[in-house]
Symmetry: C2
Subunit: 154 residues, 2 copies
């Protein structure tokens, strides 16, 4: 049962990750003025693949435990917000709206981490890299928004 | 606790529904050749608002019940796919990819309905209108794809 649950949560991550292929950064993103600490392009798919595996692991662990309602509600919320960000930022090129979505995602991931931890410490730990990465993404979105005030949405 | 859970699931639905405002149908959709049974425009937001309330109700009911893992894993999967469809169809105007996403969504909603029902009959019932509506949306997407073979993606 663990692996069936793991697969279903991983499919949800795959739906979120599919946005990365369908709304690619492309020339527009390359042309933006970005901070020096911007991770190189190859880091993003590697980071997300790792995070998706950890997120599916956390979901499946907690799905088998009792009193998991709050953790799984937040899990659903964070995957919906995760799916939303890429089309808003890279599709619409709305950097401000992207920052709003990322702020909501950060809160959802933080709440999910706490709720997961209360059910299962390993599940909570699996969300720590995710929260770190969303923090970096949030800072990068903010920095890019500030450095490119004259770039219009698509 | 029911209402907190209801609110979290409703926020996830709101993230999915936000795509409707950010990727509006617009002139492109109006200009497509659509079947005679296409619901009028005003039906869509009314239907989705109703469905979102029912989905949040189902999620919150099952989150408080034991042995809810499979149902909540499918709930997370369906909301991710739900969030994905609008940007693909109305944002990218990729009708074929939209149909693939809707097919996956239909399967996820059907699986979620069955899994919900096994935990709580009211939760399963709350997903019946959703499955009906996704069936209509699937048929509409297929019909529009067939009737407009020469319309290029955005």
């Amino acid at each position: 049962m663990f692996w069936i649950l793991f697969l279903i949560f991983l499919l949800a991550c795959f739906a979120a990750g599919a946005t990365g292929g369908m709304f690619p950064p492309g020339d527009w993103y390359r042309s933006l003025d970005k901070p020096r600490w911007t991770p190189p392009d190859w880091v993003f798919p590697v980071a997300w693949t790792t995070l998706y595996l950890l997120m599916a692991f956390a979901g499946a662990r907690v799905a088998l435990a009792p009193d998991n309602g709050l953790a799984l509600a937040f899990w659903a919320l964070q995957i919906a917000l995760n799916t939303l960000w890429t089309p808003v930022f890279f599709g619409l090129r709305r950097m401000r709206a992207g920052l709003v979505v990322l702020s909501a995602l950060w809160l959802a991931v933080a709440a999910c981490l706490v709720a997961l931890w209360q059910v299962d410490a390993w599940a909570g730990l699996a969300f720590v890299p995710y929260l770190c990465w969303v923090s970096v993404a949030w800072a990068l979105n903010l920095s890019v928004l500030r450095r490119n005030p004259d770039v219009a949405p698509a």
